[in-house]
Amino acid sequence: MYKKLFVLLLLAVLGWSFFTLLQTHQERQSLNPLSKHYVEKGPDEVGAPNLVTAIVVTYRGFDTLGEVTILFVSAAIVGLFLKTENRRRKYKIRSTSEILHAAQRLLFPVMILFGIYIFMNGHLTPGGGFQGGAVIATAMILVLLTNPESPISHRAFNLLESVSGFSYIIIGVLGVLLAGGFLDNHILPLGKFGNLFSAGAIPLIYSFVGLKVGSELSSIILNLNDVQKDDK
């Protein structure tokens, strides 16, 4: 009981400080100098209409590399925690309904196509590698819901993940050799502003990020599904 009172007191103090922050907050009227540079020079320097993509992939490319690394480490930790000795199942799983099977056959290719569409058009429209990868992982959830015994191999996903991650690094190093710096997108011609094949290497980089994120999230789901199969 005393503990709850103490927590309430803490929350009251925090809430009061938040309230004073809110009261003194003034809405900004113009962009700060750094954002101004990105918005003014971004279309000419990077060639991508979507400025958020320009920042995520090119200006702050190191951040994205670190983020993909964190996601990889967390997928590896999930695999380590959920490791079980025998992959042999001990009880029978009830088969799912015909409606789910038919819907899965119909929807799976469309979902994969939609994911690829999202990460290919990341420099033109809202979206990009992370969102497209999440859509692909959702398609994998649909497959596993329909048939938890699906023979999806972990090795294929691990291979896809390593190949796309390696290509991402190679493109970054090519940027050092051929253009201004690590992950510079000028290794390919900028092209016509607003076309699908424009903005230099951004569509390529975002496709590799999308494949890597999609295979990492899918491997988390596959590991959880394997635990489901294993012991009761």
Binding site: P126, G127, F130, A134, T138, L224, Q228
Partner: protein, 81 residues
Amino acid sequence: MILIIVSMVLGVVMIAVSLVALHTKKLQAAILAAGVLSLMTSILFLLLAAPDVALTEAAIGSALTTAIFFYVLNKIKNTHV
């Protein structure tokens, strides 16, 4: 004006749903309430002129997180009986 009314309604729903997520008896209902909270947040991101963030929140925060929660909960229930 219409934007302010929509965001106020969204805010009331979000706060109610987050309280439900913490205080309902059933864990399934709590997880679903957390997913609904993410979905409402993504609509608010759209009103705040951030479509990229809204798409990410809807795809990752709302769908994938809820799915992972349910996989773990299902595993725990199976072991319990």
